[in-house]
C-alpha cells in the first residue's frame, strides 16, 4: 500500500498486517546478526585501541609519542569517512576475506571499520575521566601498569564504557540499515527495495517501527546496566 493512493491512516493500519511482518522475520534476523557480530568486534577492538590511546597519551602511564600520534591520526582519517564511503572502500577487503564483496558478512567488515574508531575515541575519553588521584593511589601501593589498567581504570570507568558502548551499538544498527543498500540484506534492504523503489509505504513503516524499537531497547538496556552499577556503588 502506498501513500500515493491511500491515506496516511490506511497505510499505518496496513503496516501492521501479519503478512508484512511474516516477510520481515528473515530481515530482522539478518539485522540482529549483523548488529551482534559487528558490536562484538567493535567492543573488543574499541576497548583495546581505547586503552592504548589512554596509556600512550603524553600524560598516560606509558607515554609513547610517535605511536600515539600515528594512531590518533589514523583514527581521525577513518572517522572522517562517511559510512557509505566506508562500505564502498571495504569492498575489496571483503572480497579478500570472503571471496565476495556483498552480503551480510562483507558488510560486517565495513561496519566494524567505521564504528571501531568511533568507539575507541569514546573509550579513550571515558578512561581519561578517572581521577588522577586514584591512579596515584594505585601507584603508591606498588601496582604495575597492567594492574592499574585491569584492576583500577577499567572497573572504575565501567559505567561510562557501557554507556559509550550503547552509543556505538546504536550507530552499528543505523549502519546495518545503510548496508542494506549494498546487498547486506536486513531491515534496510526491505526499506530500500519495497519502501523506496516500489512505494510500498506500509512495509517502510514496519521497518521504521523495528528500527525504533531496536534503538530504544538498546538504549534502555545500556542505561539500565550502567545505572545499576552506579547504584550498587552508591554513586547515584
Amino acid at each position: 500500500m502506498s501513500l500515493l493512493d491511500s491515506s496516511l491512516w490506511e497505510v499505518i493500519v496496513a503496516s501492521f498486517n501479519p503478512e508484512i511482518w511474516k516477510e520481515l522475520i528473515k530481515p530482522i534476523g539478518e539485522t540482529l546478526y549483523m548488529t551482534a557480530i559487528s558490536s562484538a568486534i567493535v567492543l573488543v577492538f574499541g576497548v583495546i585501541i581505547g586503552i592504548f590511546l589512554t596509556t600512550a597519551n603524553p600524560d598516560g602511564l606509558i607515554p609513547l609519542k610517535v605511536p600515539y600520534v600515528t594512531a590518533g591520526w589514523l583514527i581521525n582519517v577513518l572517522r572522517s569517512l562517511p559510512q557509505m564511503v566506508m562500505i564502498i572502500l571495504m569492498v575489496p577487503v571483503a572480497r579478500l576475506f570472503f571471496g565476495k564483496s556483498y552480503g551480510t558478512n562483507a558488510c560486517i567488515i565495513a561496519i566494524s571499520a567505521s564504528c571501531i574508531p568511533m568507539y575507541a575515541r569514546i573509550v579513550e575519553s571515558s578512561l581519561l575521566e578517572i581521577g588522577k588521584g586514584k591512579i596515584e593511589a594505585a601507584k603508591s601501593i606498588g601496582s604495575t601498569n597492567f594492574q592499574i589498567i585491569t584492576k583500577v581504570i577499567l572497573p572504575e570507568t565501567l559505567p561510562g564504557l557501557i554507556r559509550g558502548f550503547t552509543v556505538a551499538v546504536i550507530s552499528v544498527i543505523s549502519m546495518t540499515a545503510l548496508a542494506g543498500m549494498f546487498g547486506a540484506g536486513g531491515i534496510g534492504d526491505i526499506a530500500v527495495r519495497f519502501g523506496y523503489q516500489r512505494f510500498q509505504h506500509d512495509r517502510l513503516f514496519a521497518c521504521v517501527y523495528i528500527l525504533v524499537i531496536l534503538v530504544q531497547v538498546t538504549q534502555g538496556i545500556g542505561n539500565l546496566i550502567s545505572n545499576k552499577i552506579l547504584k550498587t556503588r552508591n554513586l547515584l
Partner: protein
C-alpha cells in the same frame, strides 16, 4: 642514621616552557617510630616532597633513603616492591569506587600475590584496627568522609609498611573527624611503631600528633625542631606566622567553644 633521610633534594617543573623550582635543597631526617610533621602554606612544595619519597614524582637531584634503601637508585621492579613498604594516605582519599570497603583494603594484598587464604585474616585485622568491621560490604560512595579516610588508612596499612606518608589526610574533614583520624594515627603509631610523615597545612594536626616538625616555605625548609620549640619560639617568619595564627585561633576556640 635516621630512618628517613632526605639530602639536598631539588625538583623543578617545566610547565608551558617556563621552569618552576618547587624544591630547593631539602634536608630532612626522620627517626624510626616518630610522627614527624611538615607544615607549609599552599604551594610550598609539601605534596611534591611527599611524592618524591615514593617516586610518584621524579626529583632532579639529591638523596632519599628509607630504612637504609636508596630510593633513587631502585630499578622499576625494585621500586614497585619498595612502594609496598611505604603507605600513603591522601586528602581526597582516592578510594576505588568499584570495590567494596573489604576489596579496597584487600587491593594491596591482591596485587602483591599474597596467599589468598591469608588475605581475609589480614583485611579483617586491619579493618578492626581502624574501626570499620561493620562497613566491609559497603561501597566507598556510601561512606562519610571520616569513614572514607579510615578505609584509606587501612588500605595503606594492610601491607604492614614501615613508613606512612599522610598527605593532608585530615584537610578535607571536619574538626571532630580530624581529631578522630589523628587519634587513630597516633594509636597505630604507638601499637606498631610505624614511622609517620604527616604533611599538612593544619597547625592543630601537627601540634596534636607530632613530636618534631619542619616548616616548609618556597621549596625550602626554613625551620625544624621540636614542635613545642617552634610554636613557642619560632625563628622563621612562617613559623612565627603559624604560631601567631594558632594562638589567636586558640583564643577564639576558647571563647566560642569551637574547633579542637
Amino acid at each position: 642514621m635516621s630512618y628517613l633521610e632526605i639530602k639536598n633534594l631539588y625538583k623543578k617543573y617545566n610547565t608551558h616552557g617556563s621552569e618552576l623550582e618547587v624544591l630547593k635543597g631539602i634536608d630532612l631526617e626522620v627517626e624510626q617510630g616518630e610522627i614527624y610533621g611538615i607544615i607549609g602554606f599552599s604551594g610550598a612544595g609539601k605534596s611534591t616532597l611527599a611524592r618524591c619519597i615514593n617516586r610518584l614524582e621524579t626529583c632532579d637531584s639529591g638523596e632519599i633513603s628509607v630504612g637504609g634503601t636508596d630510593i633513587l637508585a631502585l630499578s622499576k621492579k625494585e621500586l614497585l616492591k619498595e612502594r609496598r613498604k611505604i603507605g600513603m594516605v591522601f586528602q581526597n582519599f582516592n578510594l576505588f569506587d568499584s570495590r567494596t570497603v573489604y576489596k579496597n583494603i584487600a587491593y594491596p594484598l591482591e596485587i602483591s600475590n599474597y596467599p589468598k587464604s591469608q588475605i581475609k585474616d589480614r583485611v579483617l585485622e586491619t579493618a578492626e584496627l581502624v574501626g570499620l568491621t561493620d562497613k566491609l560490604d559497603a561501597y566507598p560512595g556510601g561512606l562519610s568522609g571520616g569513614q572514607k579516610q579510615r578505609v584509606g588508612i587501612a588500605r595503606a596499612l594492610v601491607n604492614k609498611p614501615e613508613l606512612l606518608i599522610s598527605d593532608e589526610a585530615t584537610s578535607a574533614l571536619d574538626p571532630q573527624t580530624t581529631l578522630q583520624i589523628l587519634d587513630l594515627l597516633k594509636e597505630i603509631n604507638k601499637k606498631s611503631g610505624i614511622t609517620i610523615l604527616m604533611i599538612t597545612h593544619e597547625l592543630d594536626a601537627i601540634r596534636y600528633s607530632c613530636d618534631r616538625m619542619a616548616v616548609l616555605e618556597g621549596g625550602k625548609i626554613i625551620e625544624k625542631g621540636s614542635v613545642a620549640g617552634i610554636f613557642n619560639n619560632p625563628k622563621s617568619r612562617t613559623g612565627a606566622l603559624f604560631a601567631k595564627v594558632f594562638s589567636e585561633f586558640q583564643n577564639i576556640s576558647l571563647t566560642e567553644g569551637a574547633g579542637i
